[in-house]
């Protein structure tokens, strides 16, 4: 009976595609999520989701691949936020707030310019496992390779920067370079995760597993390992739940990760 419940969704190619892409994205998102939580960048992560939304609207309007447009637009705006924060007296949350609302307004405006009802836009808002293609799996696999390669180099510098930027600089770390590299990676992972979890909940995929892991971890290695495990389990249980209850995949995945977070509070 249990085995049937487990196996029957796997018989559908669309579910297998969603599961493969979801698991790959969970690994990439875990590495980014750890730093989003440690560096208190949740608001920034949320904003990147909105930048991606505008990118998708631009993609539809100009006839480009929406996810590619989301990736490019998110990276450009994320770098813009970092640049303005460095060169103005505005605080980071004010700068993000300006870009956040600006991007949302522009995205809604652009959608208004699209003719007719666009049902496919909703899959980007809430995530839709039916929409995941073979190409998305390849993109997710590439993203994991890029994330792991970058993190092999960036793990120690980023931890030094998280601890204290001046100490990192004195230790020879190129702080600006790694901070921008992280912003680019954050934008990439966010944009690539949109089809699975949706714009509205993409930040939760980054934050909630890492936040749950932070409650239980005793050292930094445990923090990363727990984050990866919670992310992977959230994707698996979330996608099965989404299949059986016939709901959007994004909310199902995030609800499972929230359950892990509640459990971590009882740890």
């Amino acid at each position: 009976m249990f085995l049937d419940l487990l196996v029957s969704p796997l018989a559908h190619p669309f579910f297998l595609r969603a599961l493969t892409a979801g698991l790959l994205l969970a690994i990439a998102a875990s590495f980014i999520g750890v730093f989003v939580v440690l560096r208190k960048m949740s608001f920034f992560g949320d904003a990147v989701g909105h930048f991606a939304f505008t990118g998708i609207a631009l993609g539809f309007l100009l006839g480009f691949d929406p996810i590619l447009a989301a990736v490019v637009f998110s990276i450009l705006i994320a770098i813009g936020v970092g640049y303005l924060e460095d060169r103005t007296t505005l605080s980071l949350d004010t700068t993000i707030g300006i870009f956040f609302s600006g991007a949302a307004a522009l995205g809604i405006f652009l959608i208004g310019l699209l003719r007719g009802y666009r049902a496919d836009l909703f899959q980007y808002l809430f995530g839709d496992i039916l929409a995941i293609t073979q190409q998305d799996i390849i993109v997710a696999a590439l993203l994991v390779v890029v994330t792991l390669t970058t993190m092999a180099l960036a793990w120690r510098p980023l931890l030094q920067i998280t601890f204290n930027k001046d100490l990192a600089r004195v230790n020879g770390v190129k702080v600006d370079f790694w901070e921008y590299a992280f912003l680019v990676l954050l934008a990439l992972v966010t944009a690539a995760s949109i089809k699975t979890v949706g714009i509205l909940l993409v930040t939760a995929l980054l934050i909630v597993p890492a936040a749950a892991a932070k409650q239980a971890a005793k050292n930094i290695r445990q923090l990363l390992v727990f984050t990866i495990i919670i992310s992977l389990l959230s994707v698996v249980f979330g996608l099965f739940g989404s299949y059986y209850w016939n709901t959007a995949s994004g909310p199902a995945i995030i609800l499972v990760s929230l359950l892990f977070f509640v459990l971590s509070l009882l740890w």
Partner: protein, 242 residues
């Protein structure tokens, strides 16, 4: 050949002249204390020597420009604003600040033993007292056996007992590790006891010399305003913290 040489140093940040026409030398083996009121530019001077901010003038640190002598220079910043809820152990901290070749418990323990913190390796940073935390940061600053150690109010927020331990360790290290030390301190008894040279900074270099020469009513009045008095530790008065 001085280990630090500064000529006509000027630092302007956001249209504010923080440091004006500073010139001084620091010889190897010295313990140089920077004193001055809050906002006088002491931390700016430290950050200039570390290569963290732009400047005008000539600055040479360990035979090169500021920031270049990586590994030959250790730094203990002012109280670190660290999120104590992060699950980070002392071992974690040392592991990501040290070179991969030195990433082992033997090396970490050696660094921590120098500052009497060898037993803290497995502890979470968030669980350490401020005194223990600062000793770990000093152990970290020493991990590459630097020639020059720069400390910016290292005992700020540390209780009195911890402060005494900290400076005794620093004094011992200075001799054993043949360190040159630049130290920012508001505690004039520390300055009196340990400094071989005192630099009084109030945007410009107000005075410079041996502690006995510098810690006088006149120079302290010039630096902190009239009414500032220092009773030196050999007399039966408590040291005045300015």
């Amino acid at each position: 050949m001085p280990i630090v040489s500064v000529r006509d140093l000027n630092v302007t940040l956001e249209d504010h002249h923080i440091l004006q026409n500073l010139s001084f030398d620091i010889e190897a083996g010295e313990v140089v204390c920077l004193i001055g009121p809050n906002g006088s530019g002491k931390t700016t001077l430290i950050k200039t020597l570390l290569g963290l901010i732009p400047y005008m003038g000539s600055v040479t640190v360990l035979d090169g420009p500021p920031g270049a002598p990586r590994g030959r220079l250790g730094y203990v910043p002012q109280k670190i604003d660290f999120d104590r809820t992060i699950p980070l152990t002392v071992r974690d901290l040392l592991s990501f600040f040290t070179e991969r070749a030195d990433s082992n418990d033997k090396h970490y323990k050696k660094c921590l033993d120098l500052v009497g913190a060898g037993d803290l390796l497995d502890r979470r940073l968030g669980d350490l007292s401020q005194g223990e935390f600062q000793r770990v940061i000093m152990g970290l600053a020493l991990h590459r056996h630097p020639q020059l150690l720069i400390l910016d109010e290292p005992a700020a927020g540390v209780d009195l007992e911890g402060e005494v331990v900290f400076y005794e360790i620093l004094n011992k290290l200075k001799t054993e590790e043949k360190l040159t030390v630049i130290l920012v301190s508001h505690d004039l008894s520390v300055v009196y006891r340990y400094a071989t040279q005192v630099l009084c900074v109030n945007h410009a270099l107000v005075c410079r010399g041996l502690p006995q020469e510098v810690l006088t009513a006149d120079t302290l009045g010039q630096l902190y305003g009239h009414g500032a008095v220092y009773h030196h530790p050999e007399r039966p008065h408590p040291a005045v913290r300015l």
